[in-house]
Structures are given as structure tokens and as C-alpha cells.
């Protein structure tokens, strides 16, 4: 049995998440990944915004910062630049990360600022009652999309890759074992890493779209996911509506804190002029 109690603030339980919610599965995977990566608790800052996913920091024993809606990555930017030794993990939801917080998401990726962002993608705004988010698939319902969403959804991982992230992986709450590895890789990567995790929201998403229970959602993830290696050999039509999981992107690029350090050294040596 994994020693979860080493990392949990047990006096803060029971948690506020609904029965069947995916948040706990992701939180546990994150803790297993942290244990494996051997990063000490004191050097981890876990930052979140607003939403169901963003309640994670309250339950875990790190330096934890629960901020304003959409701004977790910007707060984390300040922490990281002020104290580069901190290992920054941002937990965010689909609405928090790519709707209200979309600007910080793409710019942190562009800078390649060293942090690991875990996006719990449940296709919906859970905390406020099931409103449609930019991740809601076209045609699917939310409490503000009663006739089905007519907006195309964002590909969160694709957005991070396009913006400049150096490590991007996607998993689901069904593929919890693989998820540990992706988060661990993300933590060990020097640069901006994104782990997108599809998470069931039985209370709103599954109910409003008549999908059934959380188990039905997990089964749907299982049956519709394709490993990225297999997806490379498939046609566009074959991949339509499928979830491509695995390490989608892993490249090397200069990291922002390192680059800033070099700038300071250059200026101090008098080598930088303007």
C-alpha cells in the first residue's frame, strides 16, 4: 500500500468532491509521482485557481496556494522567479486553465517556465453547477448549453504544444497507472510541462449528457482511448472522436529561469548593453 498519509492533510478530510469524481484519482497519481521523483515536500509549491480541481492543495502537505480564478499560473510565475529552487506544480481545471486563464497558460508555455501543470479536464464547470466550458465537446450539453454546445472545443494538449510547452502528455482517470509516469516525467522535465487528464464528472457532465455513472465514463475512456504510437498509423477519420493518450510531445528548449540567470550574469559582467 502506498503511504498516502505521508502526503495528506488527513485532518482536512472528508474532501468536498462528489462520489465518482475524478479529482481524487488524479491527486493520488500526483502523490505517487512525487514520491517516485523524490522531490522533498518542503520544496514543492502546489498552486491552484478556482474550481473542483483547485481544491486539491487543501488536502496535501506541501506549500499550498489556492488563488483566484484563472490566475494560478501567474501566481506560480512569481513564486518560481522569486525562488527558482521551488518545484512548482499547478493544478487546474479545463475552465480555469484555458478559458479565464488561457492567456497565462499560453504565455507560461511560450516562456518555457519550469513548472508542471496538471489540467483536470472534465469537459465542464463542476463547481458552479455544470456550465459548458471551452473543453465541452461540440453537441454535448451543459447547464448553459441545454441544446448542446455549438462551439468547437479546445484541444488543451495541442494548445500547449503550439504555445511552446516542452513536455505534453494526455491520460484519463481510467489509465491511472500510466498517469503516474507522465506526471513523474513532467516533474523531472526542466521546462513547462502539461499533463492533461480526462476526469469524470458524474454529477453534471455524465448526468446532463445521459452517459450514466462514473463507471460508465471510465469505461468510455477505456474503449475510446488510443495510445499515441498507434494513433500515428491511423487515418484522420479513424481517429475522429477518439482520445489520444501517451506522451504527445517531448523536446528540449531553453528554460526561462536559466535564461534570466544568464542575463543577470551578463549584465553584471558589463557584457550586456542597450
Amino acid at each position: 500500500m502506498f503511504p498516502y498519509e505521508k502526503y495528506l492533510r488527513l485532518d482536512k478530510f472528508p474532501h468536498i468532491w462528489c462520489t465518482g469524481c475524478g479529482c481524487g484519482i488524479i491527486m493520488k497519481a500526483m502523490l505517487r509521482a512525487i514520491e517516485k521523483s523524490k522531490i522533498p515536500k518542503d520544496s514543492i509549491a502546489l498552486v491552484s485557481g478556482i474550481g473542483c480541481s483547485s481544491r486539491t492543495p487543501g488536502y496535501v502537505d506541501f506549500n499550498t496556494l489556492h488563488t483566484t480564478h484563472g490566475r494560478a499560473i501567474a501566481f506560480a510565475t512569481g513564486l518560481k522567479l522569486a525562488k527558482p529552487k521551488l518545484k512548482i506544480i499547478v493544478v487546474s481545471g479545463d475552465g480555469d486553465a484555458i478559458a479565464i486563464g488561457g492567456n497565462h497558460f499560453i504565455h507560461a508555455a511560450r516562456r518555457n517556465l519550469d513548472m508542471t501543470v496538471i489540467v483536470y479536464n472534465n469537459y465542464i464547470y463542476g463547481m458552479t453547477g455544470g456550465q459548458a466550458s471551452p473543453a465541452t465537446p461540440i453537441g454535448k450539453k451543459g447547464s448553459t448549453a441545454p441544446y448542446g454546445s455549438i462551439e468547437p472545443s479546445f484541444d488543451i494538449s495541442g494548445l500547449a504544444i503550439a504555445a511552446g510547452a516542452t513536455f505534453v502528455a494526455r491520460s484519463t482517470c481510467y489509465h491511472a497507472v500510466q498517469l503516474d509516469k507522465y506526471i513523474e516525467k513532467g516533474l523531472l522535465k526542466k521546462g513547462f510541462s502539461l499533463i492533461e487528464v480526462l476526469a469524470p464528472c458524474p454529477t453534471y457532465y455524465a448526468r446532463l449528457n445521459r452517459i450514466g455513472t462514473s463507471v460508465d465514463m471510465l469505461r468510455w475512456y477505456k474503449e475510446n482511448s488510443i495510445p499515441v504510437e498507434a494513433a500515428k498509423k491511423m487515418s484522420r477519420k479513424e481517429k475522429d472522436g477518439k482520445i489520444i493518450i501517451g506522451v504527445l510531445h517531448n523536446i528540449e528548449r531553453v528554460e526561462f529561469c536559466e535564461e534570466y540567470k544568464k542575463l543577470v550574469e551578463r549584465v553584471k559582467r558589463g557584457q550586456a548593453t542597450f
Binding site: 490566475r71 501566481f75 513564486l79 522569486a82 525562488k83 492567456n103 550586456a272
Partner: protein, 380 residues
């Protein structure tokens, strides 16, 4: 007479003095977004901070700038941002976050005409109320308003001291005139400058309570990453730093947050009075309008009119008691300001007198003549 070293005399703008003072105060972290008429502060700091080993980052917007300086301050650095009206509006939610979580930081607002895009290159003093009540909820805040380049230097340092001392966001309200005016400044001697640092806890990390109600009402700070592993949230929280719905604890938090400023108003509030002792007319002025007010009372005195000035440096908390005292012997109050009377209302509350307003909202500065005309009108 004390000799002044030539090196201590400079010609500089308010924006330059502000950036310079921030460095002197120990600020080593700036995050901002370009906006007229504040951009020079960011430009200067982008050059200065790397030399000091500090951090300069240009963020993607003002919401991010504000969030980033709070994050940096939580990690233990003195941090600031600079902006103007539209950007200041965007920062409001996170200014509330800094108030609620008691994370020190300094926000410089070089005011321009508003609302909306308004008058980007022209002065205004219309953010006075936004600086007090811009974010939602009852919250503590300190706002200072210098009127000269030298005062901008002094009050930027004081802004950091107040932020550190009381663990609140402090707003420095400049305006386009002070920001861009080139003026002679004689720097204070190093030994005259007082620098205050936030009080850090010496408590064992196991027993540390980040929001413990101490006698001072100002909890002791622990830098993130210094081994304390505590929780910070913008939700209503108890002394442990975790969210609470307990009415008693909620009430205690809101009252302490506001009491933290109210009980120290004597220490915070600063103002200057000139020729008020025998005055029959009192000009209450702040920021660049005070410059014209000084000229106007000099003229009035030359003509034998008994006029004096009450210049406010700390707009919030507002010096209600001090003005009430003055209203015991002065009955005529004139308030010149580049808005439609935001501080005039407060002066009226404090003095119980009908306040004579001198307002301009056309992008022009209030001239000494405009104030003098009102003084003459009142004196007859």
C-alpha cells in the same frame, strides 16, 4: 547650513524617482504590463533590476502582473507593479486577494483620465475612490499620494515600509503630471532613510499558525519554501490558513483585517499644514493639485486673505479626525481635484461644512488662478 553633495542633486521625473526609490526600498521583483503614462517605471526597472540581481518580467496582462507580484512576495521578495487606470481596474481582483491573504506588495497607479481608455496622455485624479473601493468586499488598504518628485521618492519608500509593516497592498497614486514632470530632486542621505521589513516568524514549523491572532493584529510571516508548508487561500479562512464557514471565525477574520489598519491610523496617516493657524479658508489638496494650491495661498496671503493648506499624503486611511479638529476654527473648505469631487465628499463628511469644489475633468491641470479665484470669492 548643511552642505549638499552635488551627486545628490538630480533632475528627474516622478516615474524615475519612483523606480529609483523602489530599488532603495529593497524591491527586487517587478512584474508589469505597458501602459501610458506609467511605462517609464517598467522601462527603467527592466534596466536596473538585472544589475541588482533582481527580477523584471513583462507579463501578458495586468491580471497576471498583479498575481505574479503576490507570488513573488509570498516567496519573500519585496515586489511591485506599475500601471494606469485601465490596468488598475484589471488588477482589482488580485489586489483583494493580497488584502485577504495579507501578502505585502506595492501598486503604482499613474493616473490618467477615465473611465475606459479615456485620456491616456493627460492627467487625472479620478482613481481616488477606485484605489479605496476598487476590489469587492470590506478590505484593508493604504493609499498614498505624493505631489512632487521628491515626495514621490519618499512616499514610494514609505509605501514599501507600510506594506511590510501591516502586510497589506499599498497603492502609490501618482498622476500624469508628477509622473512626467522633470524637477530638481535632492536625495535624502542614506542614513536618513528608514527601511522596514515584514516581521517573520521564529515559531517551530510544526506549531506555526499563518494567521494567528497576535496582540498586534498583524500575523507573523513565513516565506513559502522556508519549511513551513502552510496553506494560503482567498477563501475566508481561520488562523490555520484553511477555509472556514464558522460564522465566529469569519467575523473575527474580517474585523481583524480591517482593525489592522484602523488601530494604527495614528502611525499611518500623514499630512502637512501650511499657514493654517489663523486661517479662515482651508484648501484640502493632494497630488499634483496641491502644487497649484500652494501657489494660490501664497497669492492670497499677499493680498491679506487668511488662507492655509492641508495637504494629504495618505488618502486612505483618510484623516477624518484631523480635519474635524480644523473645522472647529475654519469654516470654509476648498477642495481642488482633477475629478468631479471624490475627496470633497470625504472632507464634507469630516468637517460637516459645505465644501467648495474646484474640479477639472478636461485633461488640464488645475491652475493656481482657478483656486485663487475661489479663495477670493469665499473671502468676500
Amino acid at each position: 547650513m548643511q552642505r549638499i553633495n552635488k551627486k545628490d542633486i538630480k533632475l528627474m521625473t516622478g516615474n524615475e524617482a519612483c523606480a529609483e526609490a523602489a530599488i532603495v526600498a529593497g524591491m527586487r521583483f517587478f512584474a508589469g504590463y505597458p501602459i501610458t503614462p506609467s511605462s517609464e517605471i517598467a522601462e527603467i526597472l527592466s534596466c536596473r533590476l538585472p544589475r541588482e540581481g533582481g527580477v523584471f518580467i513583462q507579463m501578458e496582462d495586468e491580471l497576471g502582473s498583479m498575481a505574479t507580484i503576490i507570488g513573488a512576495s509570498l516567496a519573500g521578495m519585496k515586489s511591485m507593479t506599475a500601471t494606469s487606470g485601465p490596468g488598475f481596474s484589471l488588477m482589482q481582483e488580485n489586489i483583494g486577494y493580497a488584502s485577504m491573504t495579507e501578502i505585502p506588495c506595492v501598486i503604482v497607479d499613474v493616473q490618467r483620465g477615465g473611465p475606459s481608455t479615456g485620456l491616456p496622455t493627460l492627467p487625472s485624479q479620478a482613481d481616488v475612490m477606485q484605489s479605496r473601493w476598487g476590489t469587492h468586499g470590506d478590505h484593508p488598504i493604504i493609499v498614498v499620494a505624493p505631489s512632487t518628485v521628491r515626495e514621490t521618492f519618499d512616499w514610494t519608500i514609505k509605501a514599501f515600509n507600510l506594506a511590510e509593516r501591516f502586510r497589506v497592498p499599498v497603492i502609490v497614486l501618482l498622476d500624469e503630471i508628477i509622473g512626467h514632470i522633470n524637477e530638481k530632486i535632492i536625495f535624502p542621505k542614506k542614513e536618513e532613510i528608514v527601511i522596514i521589513e515584514r516581521e517573520r516568524t521564529k515559531e517551530n514549523p510544526k506549531t506555526y499558525l499563518p494567521y494567528q491572532c497576535v496582540d498586534t493584529d498583524i500575523p507573523l510571516f513565513a516565506d513559502f519554501g522556508a519549511g513551513y508548508r502552510y496553506n494560503v487561500t482567498g477563501l475566508c479562512h481561520d488562523e490555520t490558513g484553511f477555509p472556514t464557514n464558522d460564522p465566529e471565525k469569519i467575523d473575527a477574520l474580517y474585523r481583524r483585517l480591517n482593525r489592522k489598519i484602523e488601530r494604527y491610523t495614528d502611525e499611518i496617516i500623514e499630512f502637512k499644514t501650511v499657514s493654517l493657524d489663523d486661517a479662515e479658508i482651508c484648501i484640502v489638496a493632494y497630488g499634483s493639485s496641491a502644487r497649484s494650491a500652494y501657489r494660490a495661498i501664497r497669492r492670497a496671503r499677499e493680498m491679506g486673505i487668511k488662507a492655509g493648506i492641508f495637504q494629504i499624503f495618505t488618502i486612505w486611511p483618510f484623516p477624518y479626525e484631523e480635519l474635524t479638529k480644523i473645522s472647529q476654527h475654519v469654516k470654509n473648505f476648498i477642495v481642488p481635484e482633477m475629478n468631479l469631487g471624490q475627496i470633497a465628499h470625504e472632507v464634507s463628511c469630516a468637517t460637516g461644512c459645505d465644501v467648495i469644489k474646484v474640479n477639472r475633468v478636461d485633461g488640464g491641470l488645475i491652475t493656481p488662478d482657478e483656486i485663487f479665484e475661489r479663495i477670493k470669492y469665499v473671502s468676500v
